[in-house]
Symmetry: C2
């Protein structure tokens, strides 16, 4: 039987991280953990797409400054977003003189990018790689559902796409948090067709990947101080708990979801919680990484989740399968 879990030991480490978020994320429970924020979600641009690009460019420049590296020190950027043709990232990379590979696994893109970067560094040919993702509430609504100008009512299971961007600089020697293992996900289809219910599309994929991760790594869920899915939201997280219990690997109090953590659902009118390619990248690079540096978490399993659909596929009646990749981190 093929395995899809890979171990890195302490060969791959986080050298630095950076995050930038919009007003709603800054005003949320994790606000103080983010490096940069802005109040005008257009960032002075003429469109939200251009704003998303400016946000991603600002993030990468800030990460280079913060880490005291120039572009030449970076071997590769592996980055993505949710726009058609990952346009935001492609036009972001126009501003940098760094080799670029575009990744797309919907809101699981951050995990895909981390896994590829870790594989490349552990392979010995790369020293330092940046993984980054961005998303923007206003571009995502237009991209996946309806233009905001239509004023559509939001459905009970809808989530709120995180406006922000997060980046991880991985390298082969510096840093006290290691990316220790990963499990690569496969596409899992439970036949959900409601593009407003992303949590239900993705929970089966999260369950599939987590089951295989625990089994192939030979650890129980309580091995980790924190298990964090990407953006299942509140309803989706509850679905995941049921699926995990049914399969005999219940997850307990050490489980949470980035989409649940980033907003205050009671006060912020965000439906089931946050979502988007930046949901896991801002929460991990802002909140989780800083907690790990302080020793408050020592072993973390991050499981970004993606719903694989487009406006066209939904209009053509296709189901929305999910994918999830798991990445573990440990303080060394």
């Amino acid at each position: 039987m093929r395995r899809s879990t890979y171990e890195f030991g302490s060969d791959v480490r986080i050298e630095e991280t950076a995050t930038i978020v919009g007003p709603r994320e800054k005003d949320g429970p994790l606000g103080k953990y983010f490096d940069k924020d802005f109040r005008d979600d257009l960032l002075g641009q003429k469109s939200h797409e251009k704003a998303e690009i400016k946000m991603h460019v600002t993030l990468l420049r800030y990460l280079l400054n913060k880490s005291k590296h120039d572009q030449n020190d970076i071997d590769l950027c592996i980055s993505g977003d949710l726009l058609d043709e990952i346009m935001g990232t492609c036009l972001t990379m126009r501003e940098f003189d760094i080799p670029f590979m575009g990744a797309y696994n919907a809101c699981a893109t951050f995990a895909e990018s981390l896994i590829t970067a870790a594989m490349l560094i552990s392979g010995g040919k790369f020293r330092r790689i940046i993984s980054s993702t961005s998303s923007h509430f206003s571009t995502a609504e237009r991209q996946y559902r309806y233009p905001l100008e239509l004023g559509n009512q939001r459905t009970p299971l809808a989530q709120w796409t995180v406006t922000g961007a997060g980046a991880t600089m991985l390298n082969d020697s510096l840093g006290t948090v290691a990316l220790t293992s990963c499990t690569i996900g496969r596409v899992v289809d439970f036949g959900v067709t409601d593009s407003n219910d992303m949590g239900a599309c993705m929970a089966p994929a999260a369950s599939d990947t987590m089951q295989r991760h625990f089994e192939e790594r030979g650890v129980d869920p309580d091995y980790y101080d924190l298990i964090l899915t990407g953006d299942l939201g509140d309803a989706g997280s509850r679905l995941l708990k049921i699926l995990m219990r049914e399969k005999g690997t219940p997850i307990g109090d050490n489980y949470n979801d980035c989409g649940v953590l980033i907003f205050n659902r009671a006060a912020q009118d965000v439906g089931q919680g946050g979502s988007g390619a930046a949901c896991s990248s801002t929460v991990f690079n802002g909140y989780v990484y800083k907690k790990m540096l302080r020793g408050e978490y020592k072993k973390v399993l991050l499981v970004p989740t993606g719903a694989l659909c487009s406006k066209t596929s939904v209009l053509q009646g296709e189901s929305i399968p999910g994918i999830a990749h798991a990445v573990s981190f440990e303080v060394i």
Copy 2:
């Protein structure tokens, strides 16, 4: 100075390839080299998007059969296409029980996918990976320009998106053609804004990557029997030759372009030639690989090229930067 060229020796080899094409590609000069073809470009489906999915699924099933492998023998698929949210590939992978990572670098996606696969295999953690891409004339026109139903006139510099899909099965030991090196491209922007003139958007990126490839590998262009860009088309290829000559590394008779080779421009009404994510993957996996097996080519440099734009970015007045990655193959 950072290098972006990496060597693999004979650690990464092509075990098998497969191709499937539509009627125009089958009727073109390379028709006899493709494994499978179909006459109805809807493949009996209700939409061209669904047809593109069926084509990609058929290709991967055929490759598994041809190579006498089952899904469990494949460690990973790294695949992509041109649809928003690479929807065709995501829904293709729904049919397989194989770990999946989605790649997107426009029409350079095939190169990105080959490079990632080669890195993962040479890193020692993977034995066998499939790289594949698809494109379809009718889905690409709707995606990037206008729905075909509008009957828009084609401009003189337009190209014809290849309807087809190509896949390479890479592994660590079997096969007589090795993937010997690669150069990862960066985003290059010459300010071109005409989404009908993809060749001009991509030629500067091809030139940038090829220059670095020759310099960092320490070889001249005539080291290779064949240098093949992905889909610059006729006008774009001529631009590339000028750029290469100006930079002091002229390319000669050993240079050609997959988009020029795949169609008979005089007879097939395809504008400047073929384009699309499947242009390089069908021509390489069909024509070039079979010529290499027969010893007619021994050293080949493949440089798939991508124009980084979306309908939205073009409508918002953004320029269209290009990217190109180079991958070399040698008979061992």
